[in-house]
Amino acid sequence: MTFTRRLLLSAALIFATGPAFAETAVKIGVLNDRSGIYTDLSGEGSVIAARMAVEDFGAAAKGIKVEIISADHQNKPDIASSIARKWYDQDGVDLIVDVPTSSAAFAVSDITREKKKVFINSGAGSADLTGAKCSPNTIHWTYDTWALAKGTGGAMVAAGNKKWFFITADYAFGHSLEKDTAAVVKAAGGEVVGSVRHPFPGTDFSSYLLQAQSSGAQVIGLANAGGDTVNTIKQAAEFGITQAGQSLAGLLIFITDIHALGLKTAQGLVLTESFYWDLNDETRAWSARFAAQHGGKEPTMVHAGVYSGVLHYLKSVEATGGKDSAAVIASMKSMPTSDPLFGKGSVREDGRKIHDMYLFKVKAPAASKGPWDYYEKLATIPAAEAFRPIADGGCPLLK
């Protein structure tokens, strides 16, 4: 009896307060590498970035209740797919963000499409996410391999470094990175004088570096990733390659890699990123807040992308007054993006987020003023040119 009364009472209370707070509960899953080689560039930092987006948006005051959960996909597609499936089926997750490692990103993209949820990728590189394998439920936020190739390849050739040599990891990702970059280099009037493939993962790069050194190329393009890139750069430093006048171009490298390598080893490396903490006052202010929560480590572009993506998602949830995936995604694509980190931008119909990219050169130790002062900006690649034109991607959604 008393129980029924209490039940009625609480029901009445809920109805009484209901209209005042049309509360939407949103659950965000941050899925990334929390134990392997991409921990530094994604990992816990992405959770912090997502949390900052929720705070900055003022979700609680706007009647949107946000819960953030996270998990480690160990860079394996099978683990990523089973976590994503479980999150959508059992835990009521509405949005998955981050997901570095392209193979894992494809797996999550497929499941998100099947379960009709939302996936904002910040960490993975493959341009196929908005190309041949595009999905109506996936938005690719921060960068892609096409943009990196375009940035580094195009800008280097424009600066007069026409002769290229590639050191390529011998598997699908390395081949496609080499192919994309070589196309950009040739289109810009450059020339590929040679390339060599190393087994994946590799440890000894000396013979490949010697070939590169004797090839007469001006630029050595590193079409590999993670530990392979780091090892190549370390060994290149031992051969004094950049000091001897050749440039090393990292095609997929992050500021955390530079931090791990140290300026002495990494100096002179040219790379493309979409975000750097020291770009302007707004990025500096945001990064200072981020670093305070992340043990003094500055954010990577992947962290920035998670922040920006979650912010834009929450804006769309507010605009549509609910979390219906189709409506939210439509709103995300129609509403221009705006945040302190990437400035103004937009989300294209194929799911590609558009913003400026930057070409950086790693400073020499003497030029660096302190910790994390690593990059010197060489060029800004305007948003309109930075990403692959929508017609060239071959995304089946557009037909």
Binding site: D72, S81, K86, F106, A107, D170, Y171, A172, F200
Partner: protein, 327 residues
């Protein structure tokens, strides 16, 4: 010497050599089936399907390791290639799931015949190393050839319709199909182990020179059990590809071979139900401890060390010793 002279009188064999099915095995199988029929209504079906696939995989290895005495450190090769073939058949050729699984299983068998024919010529550690070497070759092959998609794997494999009729996109429907496949596989393994063939196998395991002297063609038995084991591992891999709609490098990597050995040892090598328990323990750990990230492998290591130090027969092995019944 005439044939009549060699005829034997009926002899009562000791309990563990008798070929007839002990009653407690029937009870356990029935109980297990009952449990698995109810389980998807309580637990997450996709998780259960993962347990089932690995239970079959571990049982397949156990057939070779526990009853044939051959430690293969390359079983991921069969598991993984079968999952690639099944995924490719279902996705690119558009075959129905049962045909895709059948093709995958066939791939496991053919590969098993090839690798087995060479590997069984060596014993002990050399046998393990030869299988590992072949598995690494298969891994390299999977990494390089275009149809496997390199490190992306084959993704978005359609679950399709069983016999073109039953839609498998529903987790629960798929679960019962997987249960049927896995349970069928387990019963087959049980039948093999308790057949005269299985008896000879155990004899070879326990004393190979004596089996040779008794006139058995030992290598043929070894090859036969190797192929059977590879086929069943292939069945598990192909089923997994349909369940998770994914075939990836993880399935052919050497850690997968290690993991399945671990499952078999933890559950109880040379017991019928041990690999099932081992698979359930390891998959549950991976699933529920996923939040600990890298610690999962360390926890697995600790469990392994504890198992080896405290109960070397494995979980079911210890229970079998206590109850004095073959499990």
């Amino acid at each position: 010497m005439t044939v009549a002279n060699t005829e034997t009188h009926p002899v009562t064999l000791p309990a563990d050599l008798r070929i007839s099915t002990p009653r407690h095995h029937v009870v356990i199988f029935a109980g297990l089936l009952g449990l698995l029929l109810v389980a998807p209504f309580v637990l997450y079906p996709v998780f259960l399907m993962k347990v089932l696939c690995f239970a079959l995989f571990a049982s397949a290895l156990n057939l070779l390791l526990g009853y044939g005495g051959l430690l293969s450190f390359g079983h991921a090769a069969f598991f993984g290639s079968a999952s690639y073939v099944a995924a490719h058949a279902a996705k690119v050729w558009g075959l129905t799931p049962e045909l895709a699984i059948l093709l995958g299983t066939g791939a496991g068998a053919v590969l098993g015949l090839g690798i087995g024919a060479l590997a069984i010529r060596r014993q002990g550690i050399y046998f393990a190393m030869v299988t590992l070497a072949f598995a690494q070759m298969v891994f390299f092959f999977a990494l390089q050839v275009p149809f496997t998609g390199g490190e992306d794997g084959i993704q978005a494999v359609p679950r399709g319709k069983l016999f073109g009729l039953v839609d498998l996109s529903n987790d629960l429907t798929l679960y019962f199909v997987v249960l049927l496949i896995v349970f069928g596989g387990l019963l087959l393994i049980y039948r093999i182990v308790h057949s005269p063939f299985g008896q000879v196998l155990k004899a070879i395991r326990d004393n190979e020179p004596r089996s040779v002297s008794l006139g058995y063609k030992v290598n043929r038995y070894k090859l036969a059990v190797f192929v059977m084991s590879a086929t069943l591992a292939g069945l598990a891999g192909a089923t997994k590809a349909i369940v998770f709609q994914l075939a990836s490098l993880t399935d052919v990597y050497w850690t997968m071979s290690g993991e399945v050995v671990l499952m078999t040892l933890i559950g109880g090598m040379g017991t019928i139900f041990g690999p099932l328990v081992g698979a359930a323990v390891i998959v549950t750990m991976q699933n529920y401890f996923a939040g600990f990230g890298a610690w999962v492998t360390i926890l697995q290591g600790i469990v392994f060390v504890v198992t080896v130090l405290l109960f070397r027969e494995g979980i079911i092995g210890v229970i079998a010793r206590w109850t004095k019944k073959a499990l």
